[in-house]
């Protein structure tokens, strides 16, 4: 392969919707590449040499025949957007957590993808699409300080397809501590139509375990976990934002979540019970959720995820608390 075949000056290359079956290593000459789109081809494997693209910001490999991504993807420190949807991925490389700039991941429509690597939880994602569910973090449309987590089903599916998607989510929630995965599952768990399934699979119990069993940490490990730049204008008083009170609030919140979730597991009007409990405790929950979401750097990851879980329920249940949380 002639390395002169492509101009090294290229920063943008779109080869989508062709009939390529491979991506030759000769592309490594493109050291300046920032956008590489090779969607909708017939590519079964990406070369390890993809680590040549150290300036790459967007990689679109959707709708190919990929069963895996090369581990060298983890070296792409500038990568912001990864679209690997519509493949046959069985897993993601454990190195993906090293992509520090990554904020959008789409691994939707990979029916064999059941697990996410542990390292996935180190990513600070704004958008994550998996199993037909798109979860995004975006500025509050009302202009309030804070963030809105929004989950939406990317398309309508038959009950069978939805069941498969839920199985995927359950597996992923069990293997990854990434809050977006947990949130995606939690948002689905509140759906009347799938509540029974989630309870059957023990998924809700997993969520409870996930949200309550991880010991609170005050180390710096979590400081960069959640970009709190959007939350820096918090209106919370200093008395409620100290580390100790934050942990107390988190513990209390986790306890409430456990109670609520266990109640749901009792199979007594699962979805309705959750909803009623949340509404009943609305006043108490608001300041706790606000504190956690506004000071994630001071909180345990699991507790923030627990907060997101509850906020997700509130949002999906149509209560006004969701926005109250952001106002406090």
């Amino acid at each position: 392969v002639n390395s002169d075949s492509l101009p090294p000056s290229l920063t943008f290359l779109d080869l989508s919707k062709n009939k390529l079956s491979s991506l030759p290593a000769a592309l490594q000459v493109l050291s300046q590449l920032q956008t590489l789109r090779i969607a909708s081809n017939a590519i079964a494997e990406l070369p390890e040499e993809i680590d040549t693209f150290q300036l790459l910001k967007e990689l679109d490999v959707s709708n190919n025949a990929l069963e895996k991504l090369p581990s060298t993807v983890g070296t792409l420190q500038c990568l912001r957007v990864l679209n690997a949807s519509g493949n046959t991925l069985k897993s993601l490389p454990s190195t993906i957590g090293h992509c520090r700039s990554l904020n959008s991941v789409n691994v939707d429509a990979n029916s064999k993808l059941k697990l996410l690597p542990r390292s996935f939880d180190s990513l600070d994602l704004d958008e994550f699409v998996v199993a037909g569910i798109k979860t995004i973090r975006s500025p509050n449309p009302q202009g309030l300080t804070g963030v809105v987590m929004k989950a939406e089903t990317t398309e309508a599916h038959s009950p069978n397809v939805m069941r498969k998607q839920l199985v995927q989510l359950v597996h992923m929630a069990r293997t990854s501590h990434n809050p977006l995965v947990v949130y995606a599952l939690a948002s689905k768990a509140t759906d009347e139509a799938v509540a029974d399934f989630v309870v059957e699979e023990g998924a809700l119990e997993d969520l409870v375990t996930f949200c309550t069993d991880v010991p609170a940490q005050s180390s710096t490990d979590d400081e960069n976990w959640f970009d709190s730049s959007d939350l820096s204008r918090s209106k919370l008083s200093s008395s409620t934002s100290s580390l100790s009170s934050s942990n107390l609030i988190a513990s209390s919140l986790a306890e409430q979540l456990r109670e609520i979730s266990l109640e749901a597991l009792s199979r007594l009007s699962q979805s309705d019970t959750i909803r009623l409990k949340l509404i009943r405790h609305e006043k108490e929950l608001v300041p706790m959720l606000s504190s956690l979401l506004r000071h994630p750097q001071r909180s345990n990851k699991a507790h923030v995820a627990a907060a997101l879980y509850i906020v997700g329920n509130l949002a999906l249940n149509g209560t006004s608390t969701f926005f109250q949380v952001l106002r406090v």
């Binding site: 075949s5 492509l6 290229l10 290359l13 779109d14 062709n18 009939k19 390529l20 079956s21 592309l27």
Partner: protein
């Protein structure tokens, strides 16, 4: 169509051309390379939505930063140097529309 062909044939007279879009023209694979070395400032080439399927020569234009070949029939890389010289587009276009050359 004739105007468009005339425009492309006139490209050599546009030495400062920075962007060349020949998208969705029905263009198929080009004949042997010709020269379009006049376009020394070209930074963008959009040849998407055509019927290119095999480009056998080298693509190496030092000023080119953006290459869009989306929605063609390409089966393999490397891309050819057919694009190395943009003049190769001319006979291709001729071939498609008028069977020139």
């Amino acid at each position: 169509l004739e105007k468009w062909v005339a425009l492309v044939k006139g490209l050599p007279a546009l030495p400062k051309l920075e962007k060349l879009v020949v998208a969705n023209t029905g263009m198929v694979d080009p004949p042997a390379a010709a020269s379009l070395t006049h376009l020394k400032t070209l930074s963008l080439l959009d040849a998407s939505g055509n019927r290119l399927w095999s480009i056998k020569t080298e693509l190496n234009v030092s000023t080119l930063t953006s290459l869009n070949l989306r929605d063609n029939q390409l089966r393999e890389l490397p891309l050819s140097s057919y694009f190395r010289d943009y003049s190769t587009l001319l006979p291709a276009i001729d071939l498609i529309f008028h069977n020139f050359s």
